[in-house]
């Protein structure tokens, strides 16, 4: 019956972190709406599961803390304790400590964590009189009827209710339909059962159960003195156990002689399911498998190579003009495109994965700064490539911190300005063609463009004459210039620029852009425009001085052919007129330091959007649009700005991917 716990450690850590995230989220909700029974039930359930899991894994310290926390939650649920700010803070502190302990388990760190202060505070909160946690090693003495709810404290392996007579029970345990890791549940169930009694056997065999060779249910023979109801409660407390049934003696012996495998679908439900027992319904989880991200990366790379090879074959087919091959390749093209799509989708993760921790963060920060903030989130189900999502987590946190710190004005200032005392910060994700836009907006004091301007002039970044030619967006862009800060001297926008350069470069390195809007006294919005996926993009291939370059199509708004006499000069800057619009002209060859054509006759331009304006980029030749696989440049070349990576063309030739915004900055 012995199973190695360590193999479940990773699963435990993942789940524990998910529960902690859910707890944080729910507690923020509870604070807004104290006494909401649904939220309380949710919190209680997560806490309880967390405790059960910890106990199963043998993490006693974690279990103890979770247990004490549960007592407070119980008090909240019964109404004995009020959800005051102190209690909420205490619970948040408790979540943090639990998080730190889970992290320590993940790292395998032996560093002891002192939980005593928090435990004392928790005990004080619920009056301390309630039963305290008893580690499993020491058999509990005074545990009364709460026992049924707190499986962790039941001494092991002595069965409870010692007075009762042992009997052989036959149980059928049914797991949730979408239970992902059945073997783990089996393990947890058996561990629990062995605390309640002696497991005499199972059907299918233990081995088969471990190998997940069963449908949804299995039978266990248990010698125990524990009451049936007790056993049922204990088992249903384990996550993803949907049913526990006791099979009658005759039925059991009958089945035994027949040697028939169990047919769970024919069994009529005897017990109530865990969901209905716990009150509010748990939303149905979608069936899923956890996959290591590196596997997906490998898959992605392989498909990338497949796409390259397909392109190569297509080139062969057209140069030898073989119709049959072309036809077969058209089919292959469709298939690889589908395959690519599917793999791409597997990498997509809803933004809520990172959004979920922000309410807590904003709340803490606002409290700390003495500000009153309503934080709302939109579009949590919008999906982004996993890698991008991981990368923007820190920049987003930074923007939110900025919004609380510098965006939102103090309640007093707000009242003086005739605004509601509570400021509001909104985090919204939305899909916009091939981009996902993630916006952080506040209704705070806004940025004073004039002051930024003055500061820039004072710092020698701009000359007074620039004011005529630069729009306010461009002045605002200065905030994201490395090292530019408006700290101290300009109180109204203090520190607004700190770290924004980091945010911008991160977003740009992902092929996105950072756009900002502000109105003095009314608020500020920062928007990150991010590509949906990373690895494969549509690009426009161009030729300059004999070299091929790829320009991501996402930034291209159009192409045009210009003749050299259409170029005008406005204060030293070459411009062209395209449909009533004046566009600055940039010669790519010059920009890259390559030998230039003498600019005779006509040449194509690519109009690239660089927020807030468009720029015409002159090239020698347009080669056409193509799907390219982005290969990142080796660390050796990473420091060279202006390139978003490179790609291998169908010919085997390497083409650099131009990152026009950084190239021109």
């Amino acid at each position: 019956m012995d199973m190695d716990v360590s193999q479940y450690k990773e699963l435990f850590i993942n789940e524990a972190q998910e529960h902690l995230e859910a707890l944080n989220q729910s507690l923020v909700d509870l604070e807004k709406d104290p006494g909401n029974p649904d939220v309380l039930t949710e919190i209680f359930r997560s806490a309880h599961t967390l405790k059960g899991m910890s106990a199963t894994m043998g993490f006693d310290q974690l279990t103890e803390l979770a247990h004490e926390m549960e007592n407070v939650l119980d008090g909240l649920r019964s109404g004995d304790i009020e959800a005051s700010t102190e209690i909420v803070d205490l619970l948040f502190g408790c979540f943090d400590l639990l998080g730190a302990m889970v992290a320590a388990i993940a790292e395998g760190s032996a560093q002891p964590i002192d939980t005593q202060p928090v435990i004392d505070a928790l005990r004080q909160a619920y009056g301390g009189g309630s039963p305290t946690f008893v580690p499993r090693k020491a058999p509990s003495a005074g545990v009364e009827k709460e026992k049924s709810e707190r499986e962790a404290e039941s001494p092991v392996p002595v069965p409870q209710e010692l007075g009762g007579e042992e009997e052989l029970l036959r149980l059928r345990v049914t797991l949730d339909r979408d239970c992902a890791l059945k073997s783990v549940r089996v393990f947890m169930i058996f561990r629990k059962l062995s605390q309640l009694g002696r497991v005499a056997g199972s059907r299918p065999s233990m081995e088969d159960l471990e190998d997940e060779k069963f449908d949804r249910s299995f039978e266990v023979f248990l010698m125990t003195a524990t009451k049936r109801e007790e056993i049922r409660k204990e088992l249903l407390a384990i996550a993803e156990v949907s049913q526990v049934e006791f099979l009658e003696e005759e039925e059991a012996s009958g089945a035994e002689t027949e040697e028939e495998p169990s047919r769970p679908e024919e069994i009529v439900t005897i017990s109530s399911s865990k969901e209905s027992g716990a009150g509010a319904a748990v939303p149905l989880r979608t069936q899923s498998v956890r996959v290591n991200i590196s596997r997906l990366d490998n898959l992605m790379n392989l498909i990338g190579e497949l796409v390259i090879n397909r392109t190569r074959l297509q080139e062969i087919a057209s140069s030898y003009n073989i119709p049959e091959l072309k036809e077969a390749l058209a089919q292959t093209a469709r298939l690889t495109a589908d395959l690519q799509d599917e793999v791409m989708k597997t990498r997509m993760v809803p933004v809520e994965h990172i959004f979920n921790r922000f309410p807590r963060m904003v709340r803490d920060l606002a409290k700390n700064r003495g500000k009153e903030v309503d934080f709302t989130m939109e579009g949590r189900d919008i999906e982004l490539d996993r890698t991008i999502l991981d990368e923007i987590s820190d920049p987003l946190m930074h923007l939110l911190r900025n919004a609380v710190d510098h965006g939102i004005d103090s309640p007093e200032e707000r009242e003086a300005r005739g605004k509601p005392r509570r400021g509001s910060i909104k985090l919204a994700a939305r899909r916009d063609r091939n981009y996902v836009s993630i916006e952080v907006s506040d209704d705070g004091q806004g940025i004073d463009v004039q002051k930024v301007w003055e500061k820039a002039v004072a710092a020698g970044l701009l000359s007074p004459e620039d004011r005529r030619t630069l729009g306010s967006e461009e002045v605002l862009r200065l905030l994201t210039a490395p090292g530019f800060t408006t700290t101290d001297e300009v109180s109204g926008v203090s520190g607004r620029g700190v770290g924004l350069d980091v945010v911008r470069s991160k977003v740009e390195s992902l092929g996105g852009m950072l756009v900002m809007e502000t109105a003095k006294g009314e608020g500020t919005t920062f928007a990150m425009k991010l590509p949906l996926t990373l690895a494969i993009i549509q690009a426009l291939l161009v030729r300059v001085s004999g070299e091929t370059y790829a320009i991501p199509l996402g930034t291209v708004s159009e192409t045009a052919v210009i003749s050299s006499h259409e170029i005008k000069s406005v204060s030293g800057q070459e411009v062209i007129f395209l449909r009533d619009e004046t566009l600055p002209l940039v010669r790519l060859a010059r920009c890259l330091g390559l030998p230039e054509d003498d600019g005779h006759g006509t040449f194509p331009v690519v109009v690239v959007e660089i927020a807030p304006r468009s720029i015409a980029v002159a090239v020698d030749e347009l080669l056409g649009q193509q799907e390219i696989v982005i290969t990142s440049l080796d660390k050796f070349l990473k420091g060279i700005r202006g390139f978003g990576g490179a790609t291998i063309l169908g010919t085997g030739e390497v083409a650099l991917i131009l990152d026009i915004p950084t190239l021109l900055s």
């Binding site: 790379n301 990338g304 190579e305 390259i308 070299e547 890259l592 330091g593 390559l594 290969t631 990142s632 440049l633 080796d634 660390k635 050796f636 070349l637 420091g639 060279i640 700005r641 202006g642 990576g645 490179a646 291998i648 085997g652 030739e653 390497v654 083409a655 650099l656």
Partner: protein
């Protein structure tokens, strides 16, 4: 700089190989190549492969010694003109010209050399720490010199040759 001093700077994988070597009387293997008028070597454990010269895509805005980038079986790596890097003259590019792909620290780079001559197995003590002899190459890039059959082979310190700080000091 003695052999044992260097161990701390090499990759873990290499350390294991070195440890094996250490048992067999402190031997090291060098890939010897010529560049200009001199003979150079890098430790074989740092060499990933040696390929023929191929078409190299220009890398604009890169340091002067970066020749460009190539596709090494799906991986894109930088190729440097080693002679330019060491600030010495190189021979003509021709049939003997090779790109030695090396890995040092966490960078993988191809180095163009005039020709690759051999893989040499020598005792680690044959590496003389501080080169006092005259060479055109800046001492900063040298790990030591090897005297072998009346030849003088300059052992390069790849971490220095491929150092990013060096690049940073050049403004990149």
């Amino acid at each position: 700089m003695g052999y044992s001093d260097r161990r701390g700077t090499v990759a873990g994988r290499e350390e294991m190989i070195m440890a094996d070597d250490a048992k067999t009387a402190e031997e090291i293997q060098l890939v010897v190549f010529s560049l200009g008028r001199e003979e150079f070597a890098v430790e074989v454990t740092q060499v990933r492969e040696i390929i023929r010269m191929e078409e190299i895509t220009r890398m604009p805005k890169s340091p002067y010694f970066v020749e460009g980038i190539i596709n090494l079986r799906g991986q894109i790596i930088a190729v440097i003109d080693l002679a330019k890097r060491l600030n010495i003259d190189s021979g003509e590019r021709g049939a003997e010209t090779r790109i030695i792909v090396v890995e040092a620290g966490d960078v993988k780079v191809g180095m163009i050399v005039d020709s690759v001559s051999e893989v040499l197995r020598i005792g680690a003590d044959a590496v003389e720490p501080s080169p006092t002899m005259a060479t055109d190459v800046s001492a900063a890039f040298l790990q030591g010199v090897v005297k072998h059959d009346n030849r003088l082979i300059i052992l390069l310190d790849l971490t220095k040759v491929l150092s990013l700080e060096e690049m940073a000091s050049l403004g990149f």
